[in-house]
Symmetry: C2
Subunit: 347 residues, 2 copies
DNA sequence: TTGTAGGCGTTATCAT
DNA sequence: ATGATAACGCCTACAA
């Protein structure tokens, strides 16, 4: 039994010697064993076990030109990632799918613009086979970087620039049906008899926020602009927006918040101002985060399958990384996943 | 058949040819340029720029036997990671420190016991130079795995087994002063005149939870056992524990919860039961999570520098990975970081 | 200071 | 079906 602490790991050569075969045969056994007669293969496997042989990934990568790893780039402009379980859930989905395909996850947190050169160098450096990126802002340089690096990339959330430029083609992303989900939320409030439905939006340079506002306006095309306030996806931002709305439109009887965290902030302000939820004001959130269940009252909200979106992102990327034979010629089309309204006590 | 995915990148050889020097000289320039005359080095750098040369990390790893990457292993037995910002903050600290040292972060999420063989294979496979691990449970197999793999490892939180076995030596970990912080919290409550101080603990197979309970008992060695209830670090677990405590000891006038999330659950139950906070019952949490600030009332809590702990973990590991010359011979001793009580409205 | 040459451990292309 | 053997791209004694 070899001493792992010695640091001298057995090589293909050592296994070959012990099994009395050539390196090529050992390599074949290690990689599936096709075209090796059963008894010989068994002898090789025994030698591998005896020696505790593990393939050297660097040597393998050098010749195959595949690393078996993908980068996950997360921009966190306002450290929002730490308050919002969104990214964590998505990363869990990604991790599961990658793990199922023996692919490693290299996590890169972007703290600010100054990080992008470094990230670009890394992505262009051959460390990873592809990238998953969360493109949050309209002016995010990441799409350009991965394109320049020629690195297969799948985005989480619709990148802002696909809406403006004509070059929508070729960009693969996975997004929830933010617009449709928002429409459902507003229609639900109207169906419950609410007449003055306000909206607390997210930061409008993020497509998810813009799309949810779009859904709200789809249903209320002639709505009062004073009933819309911009938040920042945080509880305190939601609280500020709610306060502003009550100031401007004291008579409002419903609020659709663009995420659950802002809804909790709104809830606090409503209570402080003596408004009962849902009796005086009905409240609907978005995400179905855990806080939606634990809020008091529990929040009616729009659920999106965050973990599933992460898994889908990973799967699309892995498809593009497949052996040239069975690979889609063109980048796959965007995937928009459905949402579902979850009625609870708040509306 | 050529794979269109494989871009043909320039090699050291190509740069050497263009600059009219040998590969060795180019290599020297790439790795710091020591011992190369300035004009020559400049010529090489120009060639590098012109060709857009980037070193091949696999080839480099093959000969240097260093990957420039470390694994971060996160066990998430109950998906707690997604409700609790603790891990996210710690990972941010880790990421910052690693980035500053050109080291990549390979994230591995552990979903269950069945994942450990795979993780072990990976850690023993030479993919990474070291590992950071969060050892949550007393029976966690991770310490054994990394030791068997001979992989330098730093733990986040005191591993359970260091308290039991005699082999405490050699284990490097970073932990907050959970016990001291808990003592501060309880003493604070007593100093404010509270007489019946309850404790909502975390899962007691986690050392952080056990240590906080230990601090509580340090201050109240003869305390009523009925004043302690075990939670699970989630809001609903805190709510359940709070309900049980009120059932058993209706007269309690203070609660120290082992984390802020459980404190919010306790807060909800106290309100439901008509207890005013802090007038009837004073409440102290632990962590100083964002929710402590946004709770109503804001929570008095024990702050730990989570991000700093992450940075410290990474730094300790990088020290052990340093070139043999300036490396500590023995694994560094554990680091226990201080906590500080943050008074707010809840106590 | 610069160049030469060998080897890191694997896969893949040939023969046999 | 199996075995030689040549890459893969880089670092590093060692030689000049």
């Amino acid at each position: 039994m070899p001493d792992p602490l010695a640091g001298d790991r057995p090589t293909l050569e050592a296994v070959a010697a012990r099994a009395g075969v050539s390196r090529a045969t050992v390599s074949r056994v290690v990689n599936g064993g096709d075209g090796v007669r059963a008894p010989l293969a068994e002898k090789v496997r025994t030698a591998i076990r005896d020696l505790g042989y593990v393939p050297n990934p660097a040597a393998r990568t050098l010749v195959t030109r595949r690393t078996g790893a993908v980068a996950v780039v997360v921009a966190e402009p306002e450290a929002r990632i730490f308050a919002d379980p969104f990214f964590s859930r998505q990363i869990r989905g990604i991790s599961r799918e990658l793990t199922a395909h023996d692919t490693q996850l290299v996590l890169m947190l972007v703290e600010g613009r100054e990080d992008y050169p470094r990230i670009g160098r890394y992505l262009a450096g051959g460390h990873v086979d592809g990238a998953l990126a969360f493109s949050l802002h309209a002016d995010d340089p990441l799409p350009g970087i991965t394109r320049a690096a020629g690195l297969p990339t799948v985005f989480g959330g619709r990148p802002g620039w696909t809406s403006t430029g004509p070059a929508d083609g070729g960009v693969t992303y996975v997004d929830a049906d933010n617009r449709g989900g928002a429409r459902d939320a507003v229609r639900y409030l109207l169906a419950r008899g609410r007449r003055s439905v306000a909206h607390i939006s997210g930061p409008l340079d993020q497509t998810s926020a813009a799309d949810r506002l779009g859904g709200y306006r789809d249903v209320l095309p002639d709505g009062d602009p004073g009933l819309v306030a911009e938040g920042d996806f945080t509880p305190s931002g939601g609280a500020r927006a709610m306060a502003a709305l009550l100031e401007r439109r004291p008579g409002l009887d419903a609020v659709f918040a663009a995420n659950d965290l802002m809804a909790t902030g709104a809830l606090r302000v409503l209570r402080e101002r003596g408004r009962s939820v849902p009796a005086d004001v009905a409240l609907v959130g978005f995400d179905d985060a855990e806080v939606a269940r634990t809020a008091d009252p529990p929040l009616t909200t729009v659920r999106q399958d965050i973990e599933g979106m992460g898994r889908t992102m990973a799967r699309l990327l892995l498809d593009r990384l497949a052996p040239a034979g069975a690979r889609p010629g063109r980048p796959p089309a965007p995937v928009v996943t459905p949402t579902v309204l979850v009625p609870r006590a708040s509306a």
